[in-house]
Symmetry: C2
């Protein structure tokens, strides 16, 4: 990684969006892509695209564009997705169940190798992923040296379970609950805020139906 | 709504986070909350909190704080969540299924009143929501005047289904697929970017394990 480069969260969040599109271009036999074409495809402006790709440190050729394969490799390397990182998931009902069934994570070097629940299913498997009782979490985290956990438990259990995760050695928690977690500094948490998306949609729709917009044009913002 | 007020997407996304916490405070019998307390609970800085709440136009009392009930009412009104808006969902496997099972949306005034799938289940219901074949989408959208749709179909079908939604009269699409949608201007889309969250987690974790951070402290950014 370009160790000195500082970048923003939105830019970081767009990298997988580029990666996904670049892989499609690569599959379609495209060797180069120009930033305006990338911008159009992903509904971003080309200035944003060029700035974002600076993070990767792959240069585009004037009149030719960016080398697709180099860019894919650069983003995967930057994100550390070249070799998959293993994760545990806690809470297998609702969204947790859906995430276990979601194949797409492998494309991002994420492999959910085990799940944990208050009461695991009879056959101990969900979507081919083994499910253990919470009592096994600490033991397996230490033994398999897992550092990333996905939190999908009931909101009222979220803080407690997250604390147990940290005690077990988890360093990063992807929080799918609506509980704001309070954990020791140094523990990395990322909260999925679906209600936030819904807020943006609600307000935009109300403005679309009842009048003037008071938020920036989404087309020039890309994925939030 | 204070018609002149302009606000940012991140601020808008934080409103449901405030709302959620304020409802808990209200349930606990709290009448007032000070911005520093709100900031601590939600891991934001109090300047951000005060700025965000300016959007709502509810004033805090010096030394007392914000009136909790007024703030709840203000946010709900601002987001148009006082009276629930009805939505359709397309694609009932994976994440779509999980969303149908998720009770939480009602707290945000969202009611998924019907779902659509290539092949609906035998009994025509998932988590108590009726599921129809896609062929019924247009008819029911027009008849029930639905404007908001949740897109959970396979990525390769996303653009096509989204176009059909727009033809049927849908104005806002919550896109849970990884396909960037290209739709007529005026159509509102909000894309869920889980891979983006994962990118942030991956890079933070790598930095936590291998050295200096090059992204801003999440504690002062709150929910992305």
């Amino acid at each position: 990684m370009p160790a000195s480069k500082v970048y923003t969260i939105p830019a970081l969040k767009r990298l997988p969006v580029y990666l996904h599109h670049l892989r499609a271009l690569h599959a379609a036999g495209e060797d180069y892509v120009a930033s305006p074409a990338l911008a159009r495809a992903l509904r971003l402006d080309s200035v944003t695209v060029r700035k974002d790709l600076e993070i990767i440190g792959v240069a585009g050729l004037t009149g030719v564009g960016y080398p697709v394969e180099k860019l894919i490799d650069g983003i995967e390397t930057f994100l550390g997705w070249k070799n998959s990182s293993e994760a545990f998931l806690a809470g297998t009902s609702g969204i947790g169940n859906a995430l276990l069934g979601f194949q797409g994570f492998s494309a991002y070097g994420l492999k959910i190798i085990a799940a944990f629940d208050r009461d695991p299913p009879e056959d101990g498997m969900i979507h081919g992923v083994p499910v253990f009782p919470f009592s096994e979490f600490r033991h397996l985290t230490e033994r398999l040296k897992i550092r990333l956990a996905i939190l999908c438990v009931e909101e009222e259990d979220a803080q407690h379970v997250a604390e147990q995760m940290v005690e077990a050695g988890i360093l990063a928690i992807w929080n799918f609950t609506r509980r704001t977690l309070h954990l020791p500094s140094g523990i990395i948490t990322q909260q999925v805020n679906l209600a936030g998306d819904l807020a943006v949609l609600s307000v935009r729709l109300a403005e679309r139906l009842h009048g003037a917009s008071r938020i920036p044009d989404p087309d020039l913002k890309g994925v939030k």
